[in-house]
């Protein structure tokens, strides 16, 4: 019995059991905990069976369909099951009071079932079947948990159904071109295809995956979709759900089409396919990060950032050099770790204070130190500063872009990073720093079951930051499996001829610096702790009534500079398309006028037209 089937049957059992035990909440919670623990165990144990193939008993259109385990889907498998387990542990307490928890756990296990099916599929049909299950369950996931969750879920659905229809066209087109759905067969026969057709087929697949991974022009569904639902779902979705699109891009760009064929593709002679894809990735990095500055809701801010970080992964893949691709893949893992950590911290704050509105929070560091620490680790990772993991993959991507000769993509990456640093500080400042409002005086830290995932993720974020080699080994195996040159890595960084990154030394020197400062710090006399109201206020006094934070419009000046350039092109085009469909359907609806005479005239005109046309044909 293939291990993949164990995974899928456990996930499916999760769905069934949750529905059965919908009445008793306790059993439901621990059943899903058990299910996801089992899933994680199996996905970790799977490394021994990489390369094993399993066929389904029945066939579709004469083609056998099945699963196979490769290093790439092993890598994604661990991420999916790991994050789902942490989300479930976190939501044991988080979902306690809320209604709709049956729906919550059922759809979560259905989505995991869909995602695992997608990544382990070895042919286009299974890929498409589980892709549909996944996108429908994402819609189900997103439609609960907030007052305007259904509206934003509907918006996601419109994008998702278009993407899956394009994907279906691609699946069947490749079947009719190559006569088989199997990835391996298509990989071998891809060379035989004419260049424009390969380009057309590749762009079909890439477009449908870009919709799922929120690349620039088609990203507008993500911020509302991810932030209007339960905060734990925001973590889960921005952590791993959009990265299945990235998995698709990696699989098709490198696994099936292969880097050689992709490099042969070029538009108007000079600009090759990867560069065009890189430009879109660059836009995905810059635009969402600066929109994040404007957000005053924590979840929306992070949702915009997960769009921006998706741009980093894509630009890494688009650079095409071994370092860049390794950076892109590594960034998927890093991003998952720190973004889920950040959103767990936001969820903890929401759990205690009931709001994620940045204008109303402040000073929670005094009451929720662990969540503060979690958010701090997360934002350092997100901003990509050393000792945290975000820095390592960004360093790879930067080096690949600079040495690969893509200056303008590197410029976009730089702009993106700075935008991230600004908005990320706003997040931690408005929530945890500044004056603590009166109403949050009795706020307590979250319980252990919510802290445990935070601690685990903190260790992962810091651990991967200092010892990136742990994950680089797996990524090197993936690169070799995909036919790319692997990056020479070591436990604490990489050693290439043209430059070396040693995170261990960087962190050691940083600790050394802090130690020296600590000694200087001890030279001075003891510090005196004072309350927040004992503060400089230009001669005036601060007390409970007048406590005020500088939260509202934190970057007013930057918004002042950027505003003229924000033309909201995306929103206008979307409204345009929606308006067009409405107008067309309104016009076509009017054909059925209700007058029987006009219906008769329709019949006779049809009769005459048929005669005229068929006269030529026969």
């Amino acid at each position: 019995m293939s291990i993949v089937l164990n995974l899928l049957s456990i996930a499916l059992a999760g769905v069934v059991l949750n529905v059965l035990f919908s009445k008793s909440k306790i059993v439901q919670k621990y059943v899903s905990l058990l299910i996801f623990a089992g899933l994680t165990y199996f996905s970790f144990v799977m490394y021994s069976q990489v390369g094993e193939h399993f066929d389904f008993p029945f066939q579709i259109a004469g083609q056998s369909i099945g699963f196979t385990i490769t290093w790439l889907n092993y890598y994604f498998g661990i991420m999916i099951t790991g994050i789902t387990l942490l989300t479930v542990i976190f939501s044991l307490k988080y979902m306690e009071g809320k209604d709709g928890s049956t729906h919550y756990y059922t759809v979560l296990s259905l989505k995991t079932f869909g995602m695992l099916g997608v990544i382990f599929s070895s042919d286009l049909i299974t890929f498409f079947v589980f892709w549909e299950i996944m996108s429908w369950s994402t819609f189900g996931l997103m439609s609960t948990g907030g007052k305007d969750a259904p509206k934003s879920a509907f918006k996601y659905f419109v994008f998702a159904i278009t993407a899956s229809m394009i994907l279906m066209a691609g699946v069947v087109l490749s079947y009719s071109l190559f006569g088989s759905f199997d990835f391996a067969v298509i990989h071998d026969k891809i060379g035989s295809l004419s260049l424009p057709m390969t380009g057309f087929l590749l762009s079909i697949f890439i477009v449908s995956f870009s919709v799922e991974s929120a690349v620039f022009p088609v990203h507008s569904w993500l911020p509302d979709g991810y932030s209007n639902t339960f905060t734990t779902f925001t973590a889960y979705l921005s952590g791993i759900s959009t990265r299945i699109g990235i998995y698709g891009i990696i699989l098709f760009l490198f696994g099936i089409f292969g880097i050689q064929t992709v490099d042969k593709l070029s538009i108007i002679g000079k600009i090759n396919f990867r560069y065009v894809f890189g430009v879109f990735a660059a836009l995905t990095m810059v635009v969402p990060t600066f929109t994040a500055l404007y957000q005053h809701d924590a979840k929306k801010l992070i949702a915009w950032h997960s769009v921006g970080q998706g741009g980093y992964m894509l630009i890494g893949l688009a650079s095409g050099s071994a370092l860049g691709i390794a950076g892109g893949m590594f960034h998927v893992l890093n991003h998952m770790a720190y973004v889920v950590l950040i959103v767990f911290a936001i969820a903890a704050v929401e759990h205690r204070t009931g709001t994620t509105n940045l204008n109303k929070l402040g000073g929670l560091i005094k009451k929720m130190p662990v969540s503060y620490l979690a958010l701090l680790f997360g934002i350092i990772g997100l901003a990509g500063l050393p000792p945290m993991n975000g820095f390592v993959s960004k360093w790879f991507i930067y080096r690949a872009l600079i040495l690969g000769g893509y200056p303008f993509l590197a410029i976009a990456a730089v702009i993106g990073t700075l935008g991230t640093i600004l908005s990320v500080y706003k997040l931690i400042h408005n929530m945890f720093l500044g004056q603590l409002p009166e109403r949050y005086n009795n706020v307590k830290e979250v319980g252990f079951s919510m802290q445990l995932p935070m601690w685990i993720l903190m260790i992962v974020v810091l651990g991967l930051g200092i010892f990136p080699g742990a994950a680089m080994g797996l990524i090197a195996k993936i690169q070799v499996a995909l036919g790319l040159t692997a990056v020479p890595y070591s436990l604490h960084g990489i050693q290439t001829a043209s430059g070396q990154l040693n995170m261990l030394v960087v962190s050691a020197v940083f600790i050394g610096g802090i130690f020296v400062t600590w000694i200087i710090y001890l030279l001075g006399s003891r510090r005196k702790h004072v309350s927040q109201y004992n503060n400089y206020a230009a001669g005036n006094f601060l007390d409970k009534k007048v406590a005020y934070n500088f939260n509202y419009e934190f970057y007013a000046a930057m918004e002042h500079v950027i505003d003229p350039y924000r033309k909201k092109i995306i929103q206008r085009t979307e409204q345009g398309i929606a308006g067009l469909t409405d107008a067309v359907s309104e016009y076509i609806r009017r054909i059925y006028t209700g007058m029987i005479n006009t219906y008769g005239i329709y019949v006779i005109t049809a009769f005459i037209v048929t005669i005229i046309i068929l006269k030529e044909l026969i």
Partner: protein, 121 residues
């Protein structure tokens, strides 16, 4: 003179004219009952066409009324059987149509199709 106007061409064009006339009535008249009459005219036109297909010049009706009648001197009986059924069907449909129009008149109070447009778009 009579070579050109052979009876079958006359009947063909006659039935075509009747059908076109009937359909014309259906498309232009606003009154429902006039439309049913139009349909009836069209159906009679078709029946004429059906009967005319079986016509063989100089033969008699396909009924063994007298002794000694040869089958070869009879007109082709098959289309006539068809016309019988078609007439019955036409009659049935018109009866049904008129019954429904009466009920519709009770409900809407008018026979004018431009006014009976409850269901549209």
């Amino acid at each position: 003179m009579n070579g050109v106007l052979s009876i079958s061409t006359v009947l063909n064009f006659g039935s075509a004219g009747l059908i076109v006339l009937g359909l014309y009535i259906v498309f232009t008249q606003k009154n429902l009952i006039k439309m049913v009459i139009g349909i009836d005219i069209a159906e009679t036109g078709v029946n004429v066409l059906l009967v005319s297909t079986g016509y063989i010049k100089g033969n008699t009706a396909p009924i063994f009324s007298k002794a000694g009648l040869q089958v070869s001197s009879m007109v082709d009986p098959v289309p006539q059987a068809l016309v019988l059924t078609s007439i019955v069907i036409g009659f049935g449909v018109s009866a049904l149509a008129l019954a429904m129009i009466i009920k519709l008149y009770e409900k809407t109070g008018t026979l004018d199709t431009s006014k009976i447009r409850g269901l549209k778009w």
